[in-house]
């Protein structure tokens, strides 16, 4: 066999291999999407009984499920904002200033990243019970913010590696005060890092099972609701909601990946 056909073979084999991996990754999602249109109502919903949109209608009557979803969004948004705020200040501060105990902060930051989530979950549970912080939305926001902060900081730090401090100094030499410098120079330069960190925080929060499991009290989040319903067989309206969430995230990805958004930004810039 000549080299070219050999290479082509290898290329095709590679494509097949990748296809199989994607099949592995998407298989359970396909099952969920199909079942969300499945007309069967006998648990555990395994056979195909024809197409229906009933579950999407039922979804909007299931107030417990919708409430849990609303909680999840509220917690994700609040803890993303909090962790992004604290994390941005910390990342910039730790980059700019030298002080004693920096290593200790660094070490503490790695803890939530590397220890199994269950350890963070139970330690926060003991904290909340001992300090009488009520378990519910508040404790969930505090807990989620805790595991989001390090990811935000690391994301911004990656961006700071190539950052030129002298721009800031020049700006201040020209008479700007600290706050203006921070707002006009530092923040815009770091914006992609901050945005990436915030997105990661949101993703982590919205999908969190373990830490929420220990810190929720009686408040339900969407993942916890799913966990509860798995015991009795997930009802198809949960599948319907999952399908809608998947659809929404796909749309967001396509929008951010495509040039549409970039062009829009260009137009806005030109106008201002």
């Amino acid at each position: 066999m000549c080299r070219q056909t050999k290479e082509k073979c290898a290329h095709n084999a590679g494509a097949v291999y990748c296809g199989l991996i994607y099949a592995f990754l998407f298989l359970p999602i396909v099952v969920i999407v199909i079942n969300s249109f499945n007309a069967t109502n006998t648990k555990p919903y395994l056979t195909w009984k024809g197409f229906t949109l009933d579950w999407y209608g039922k979804l909007f009557q299931n107030s417990a499920l919708l409430d849990s979803f609303q909680n999840t969004i509220f917690i994700a948004v609040t803890s993303t904002l909090l962790s992004t705020f604290i994390g941005t200040l910390a990342a910039v501060g730790m980059y700019k200033y030298k002080f004693r105990g920096k290593n200790i902060i660094d070490g503490l930051l790695y803890i939530p990243v590397v220890i199994p989530e269950i350890v963070l979950g139970i330690s926060l549970l003991t904290l909340f019970t001992n300090t009488n912080i009520p378990r519910g939305l508040l404790s969930l926001v505090l807990a989620h913010t805790t595991f989001c902060i390090p990811f935000v900081i690391f994301n911004i730090r990656a961006r700071l590696d190539g950052y030129d401090k002298s721009i800031e100094e020049a700006f201040m030499d020209l008479g700007a005060n600290r706050l203006t410098t921070f707002l006009r120079i530092t923040l815009p330069v770091l914006a992609p890092g901050i945005g990436g960190g915030a997105l990661l925080a949101f993703t982590l929060s919205i999908d969190d099972v373990i830490v929420s499991y220990f810190t929720n009290g009686l408040t339900m989040t969407f993942p916890l609701k799913v966990m509860e319903s798995i015991k009795s067989g997930v009802s198809p309206d949960v599948n319907a909601l999952s399908t809608l969430i998947l659809l929404a995230t796909m749309v967001i990805v396509i929008l951010t990946q495509s040039n549409l958004l970039k062009n829009l930004r260009k137009v806005l810039k030109r106008q201002s």
Binding site: P116, A143, D207
Partner: protein
């Protein structure tokens, strides 16, 4: 002059770093220290924690039932890690190099499934693999088997679930490491007549070692704690250390024992991270 400058920096530094220090102290350091202290405490009849020093929890941890679960956990974590690595390495190579022109979209397609809740995806697997599931139907129609096969509720199903949920955490660092490989070096090696195997062993493997290490750590450690995977796919037959801890903090209510079990997890984690650093691993590439 220098002193003055330092003093003028102290204010803003405090404003910027103060919040994170307070947050980490209150929500990470203090709770973990408390868990450590609690692991040496006992409980009274009403399951309240009493602060009297005892090694009882640690002694109880050597019960044979528990030791079996540690072994099982490590087995499950080990096989899940191996599966992720073996499947993930060639895959990462293909998406980062061979199909380089489409790498962004190929990479995004690894991440997208993970925006659907992981529990519901595991439930998807359960529906697929169940005795009434699609896979069994397929096998029955093809006459490969005459009876439905029980794929679920054992260690293999749990390993599959762990590998599935943690796969992107392996691909992420591998992809980054493989993308950085120098194409010219790979080509030079091939041009000089080296077999693919020796190019792999002498060039690719050493240069991507840090990616392999951090991927393995990021799969292995969570496996020990992901109790929901073994709950959904293992059905109580494939518990990991996480299940033991969860039980003590929920129904069993022996919090000090649960705390001691958590300390074990922390110790394993610290040992692995130390090993990782010894092997030249970069902390920054863990997690992000």
């Amino acid at each position: 002059m220098i002193k003055q400058r330092f003093r003028s920096n102290a204010g803003p530094a405090l404003v910027m770093i103060g919040p994170v220090v307070l947050w980490l102290a209150f929500f990470v350091a203090i709770p973990l220290i408390y868990v450590l202290v609690m692991s040496f405490c006992g409980i009274d009849k009403n399951y309240n924690v009493i602060f009297r020093f005892t090694m009882g929890n640690y002694r109880r941890m050597f019960d044979i039932d528990y030791v079996e679960i540690y072994g099982q956990s490590i087995l499950i974590a080990f096989f899940s890690t191996v599966i992720c690595l073996v499947l993930g390495y060639p895959f990462s190579f293909l998406i980062a190099r061979t199909f380089r022109s489409k790498k962004t979209i190929l990479y995004m397609m690894v991440i997208i499934p993970f925006w659907t809740n992981s529990l519901i995806r595991l439930y998807g697997w359960r529906t697929f693999l169940g005795t009434n599931g699609l896979l069994n139907k397929l096998l029955l129609t093809l006459h490969i088997t005459s009876e439905p096969i029980q794929f679920l509720f054992n260690r293999s199903a749990t390993i599959l679930g762990m590998a599935y949920v943690l796969f992107p955490f392996m691909v992420l660092p591998l992809y980054t490491a493989i993308e950085k490989l120098d194409q010219a070096q790979l080509e030079a090696s091939a041009d000089l007549g080296a077999h693919f195997r020796s190019t792999f062993l002498h060039i690719m493997l050493p240069q991507t070692a840090s990616g392999i290490f951090s991927g393995c750590i990021m799969v292995f450690i969570p496996c020990l704690g992901y109790f929901f995977v073994s709950d959904i796919l293992g059905g109580g037959n494939a518990d990991v250390i996480g299940n033991l801890i969860q039980r003590q903090f929920q129904s069993g209510n022996n919090w000090p024992l649960g705390a001691a079990l958590s300390i074990i997890l922390i110790v394993i984690t610290l040992l692995l991270v130390k090993l990782y650093q010894k092997c030249g691993g970069d902390m920054q590439s863990l997690g992000v």
